[in-house]
């Protein structure tokens, strides 16, 4: 597929040109996105910030292929979403994108490990293999002992870690996180961001996750320092140059935990953060 051209240093992981999106028609229409151009390089953790209603969620919906733009090009690792539709698009999305949501979106009737296995099951992987890989992934987020629990039995932070495991189990190149820490307290939020940051590096030597790119939508200034790059939005547009000072955000890069070294539990190899 597109592996060759999307190696680190190759073409951008995300390439948006003239993206517009409106909801509703006529006078009542809301112009959520008013012409977005954006390039994100591989191996980046990009944060998307801006006031409520400025179009952040709409933008990541389009980047991740769950929403169609009205106009423009939305290319992710060489896949142009507007070229795809129906089952082909859905399958491609399943391979390419992992999701972490503000409200976790775990399926309450299923056990934690079944939730995590879901991206593999929808691809048609056999149940026992999928469950094995899911259990390994849960181990990677420090929940190896809670595989049979129901989501409701876990704390918010734990549920978000389950969601991260689910997002990563299929080894997606693109990880989309919409307000991943908004429902969590500060400390738990930091822990969740540590996991996302670790995941953003992909797994060394894994061609599938090499050059992985992470987009995090957030309001939470306490996690700005995790970003490699911050894009600020206002009223359906990107503000440039960004006013958020990266230098300020970046001055606290202390990853002081030990337990969360394994980002891709399926491979067995660990990627210890320093």
């Amino acid at each position: 597929m597109t592996a060759a051209q999307t190696q680190t240093g190759g073409p951008p992981a995300i390439r948006l040109r003239n993206i517009t999106k409106s909801f509703g028609k006529g006078r009542a229409a809301v112009h959520a996105l008013r012409g977005i151009d954006m390039d994100v390089a591989s191996n980046q953790l990009v944060m998307l910030v801006g006031p409520s209603g400025c179009g952040k969620t709409t933008l990541v919906s389009i980047i991740s292929g769950v929403l169609d733009a009205d106009t423009g090009t939305a290319e992710v690792f060489g896949v142009n979403w507007p070229d795809l539709s129906g089952a082909a698009k859905t399958k491609r999305r399943g391979e390419l994108v992992g999701f972490v949501f503000q409200q976790f979106n775990l399926i309450p009737m299923l056990s934690v490990v079944e939730n995590v296995a879901m991206p593999l099951l929808v691809r048609g992987e056999p149940m026992d293999r999928a469950l094995d890989r899911a259990a390994a992934e849960l181990n990677g987020v420090g929940l190896g002992d809670r595989v049979t629990a129901r989501p409701a039995e876990l704390s918010g932070g734990m549920q978000q870690r389950v969601a991260i495991a689910r997002a990563l189990v299929g080894r997606p190149r693109l990880l989309i996180c919409d307000e991943p820490t908004a429902n969590l307290d500060g400390h738990t939020g930091q822990h969740v961001m540590d996991l996302i940051k670790t995941a953003s590096r992909g797994k060394a030597g894994d061609e599938k996750t090499d050059g992985r790119c992470v987009v995090v939508v957030t309001h939470d200034a306490r996690i700005f320092h995790y970003a490699d790059h911050i894009e600020e939005m206002e009223d359906g547009k990107l503000k440039s140059p960004s006013k958020v000072i990266l230098e300020e955000a970046r001055h606290v890069p202390h990853y002081d935990r030990e337990a969360n070294g394994e980002t891709n539990g399926n491979g067995g190899a660990t990627d210890k953060t320093k």
């Binding site: 969620t57 990541v60 919906s61 991740s64 769950v66 929403l67 129906g86 089952a87 859905t90 399958k91 999305r93 399943g94 391979e95 992992g98 999701f99 949501f101 503000q102 979106n105 399926i107 309450p108 009737m109 299923l110 079944e114 879901m118 991206p119 099951l121 929808v122 691809r123 149940m127 689910r166 299929g170 919409d178």
Partner: protein
């Protein structure tokens, strides 16, 4: 994903149970009402239920149903016997008679007079006494549940039947008619004795067609004769049910009730399942976002519909079946008839409805925007 679909279904115990019980209730409503309706219609065929030996029932052509009795002549019996292809023909006398009870009250009884020599038209099952004793003068055999209706009488007791003396020589089991009057058997000759009218009291001629002769041909021959009409057992039964449905209020009134039960049952099932899918819509959206194709989701919904539909069906039919067992007790006033066609019909309507419910649900699943997961 099939296992996941089932787990999503069973995972929420409360929702699952309310779904299954909603469906079971719908099936119960359909089969229960249906079986009572069918049971009543069957009862309406009265004496037809008990007499299986003859191929043809011959009556006055103006008789509209089995209970509409227009007497035939002795002469008609000879005419039928002389029709080519007839093996035998027996008279049957069906009438109402008044039974005086010792306490001064009286009851109306259905009195059946059967041919004295052949005993054709005899009760299906003897419980006490001997059928042959019916040939004695004044003898009657009464149907078991009629004993209590007549004040707890038994074999050997003497009744006053239309002011004549009648001796009970046996107890039998037989199906009751519409009016569930006390039912008693006697011989044709005795019946004439008990009934204070002239000779024209033959109600039906029961006839058997010779082996190898097409029944239809004999039937046509008899129908070609003036003042006689021949019906097969089923033909007479259909004629009776049609009459009840069209000419009495029962058809329209009870039919409406049954139809209502049917529609309500089906709507409940469809709505219940639709509701279930709606509540899962967000989960389906998540699955769609992470790569489940619409086809996969459709399969999941249909599987869930089938599982829950079949379980609900099983429970509903089970309860309705238990009801019908009550109705099978001899002499039970509950008229229940539970043929396999009803079960198949209920299954078909169940599948139809749950499919309707799922089609509604599927429309939502198919048009589902995965973007709602961010909401």
């Amino acid at each position: 994903m099939n296992r996941i679909a089932i787990k999503m279904l069973l995972g929420d115990r409360a929702k699952y149970l309310s779904l299954v019980f909603g469906l079971a209730f719908a099936v119960l409503l359909i089969t229960q009402q249906g079986s009572i309706f069918l049971g009543l219609m069957l009862r309406a065929t009265g004496i037809l239920q008990n007499i299986a030996q003859p191929d043809l029932w011959i009556a006055d052509p103006h008789s509209e149903y089995i209970g509409d009795i227009r007497p035939l002549d002795d002469h008609d019996l000879y005419r039928v016997r002389s029709v080519p292809g007839i093996a035998w023909a027996s008279p049957l006398f069906a009438t109402r008679a008044r039974v005086d009870l010792p306490d001064g009250r009286h009851k109306t009884a259905q009195l059946l007079g059967i041919d004295r020599s052949t005993l054709i038209g005899q009760p299906p099952l003897m419980l006490e006494g001997r059928l042959e004793d019916l040939r004695q003068p004044d003898a009657v055999i009464i149907e078991e549940s009629s004993r209590s209706k007549l004040g707890g009488v038994g074999v050997g007791d003497v009744l006053k039947l239309n002011d004549q003396r009648a001796v009970i020589v046996g107890i039998c089991r037989a199906k009751m008619g519409f009016e569930s009057n006390a039912t008693m058997y006697t011989t044709y000759n005795n019946a004439l004795q008990f009934t204070p009218v002239g000779r024209e009291r033959m109600s039906f001629i029961l006839a058997k067609v010779k082996e190898g002769v097409p029944i239809q041909r004999v039937q046509d021959t008899i129908n070609g004769m003036t003042d006689l009409a021949a019906f097969t057992h089923d033909g007479m039964s259909d004629r009776t049910i049609n009459f009840i449905l069209k000419e009495t209020g029962i058809g329209i009134n009870f039919g409406l009730t049954v139809a209502l039960g049917f529609v309500v049952g089906l709507v409940i099932s469809a709505a219940t399942f639709y509701q279930f899918t709606l509540e899962n819509l967000r989960h389906f959206a998540v699955l769609k976002a992470i790569g489940a194709t619409t086809a996969t989701l459709i399969r999941m919904v249909i599987l869930q519909a089938l599982v829950v539909g079949l379980i609900g069906y099983g429970i509903g039919v089970g309860i309705a079946g238990a009801f019908s067992l009550l109705g099978r007790k001899p002499g039970a006033e509950l008229a229940v008839y539970f043929p396999w066609e009803l079960m198949v019909g209920a299954l078909a309507s169940m599948i139809l409805t749950v499919s309707a419910g799922s089609v509604l649900s599927l429309r939502r699943v198919i048009t589902l925007e995965p973007a709602v997961v961010f909401k």
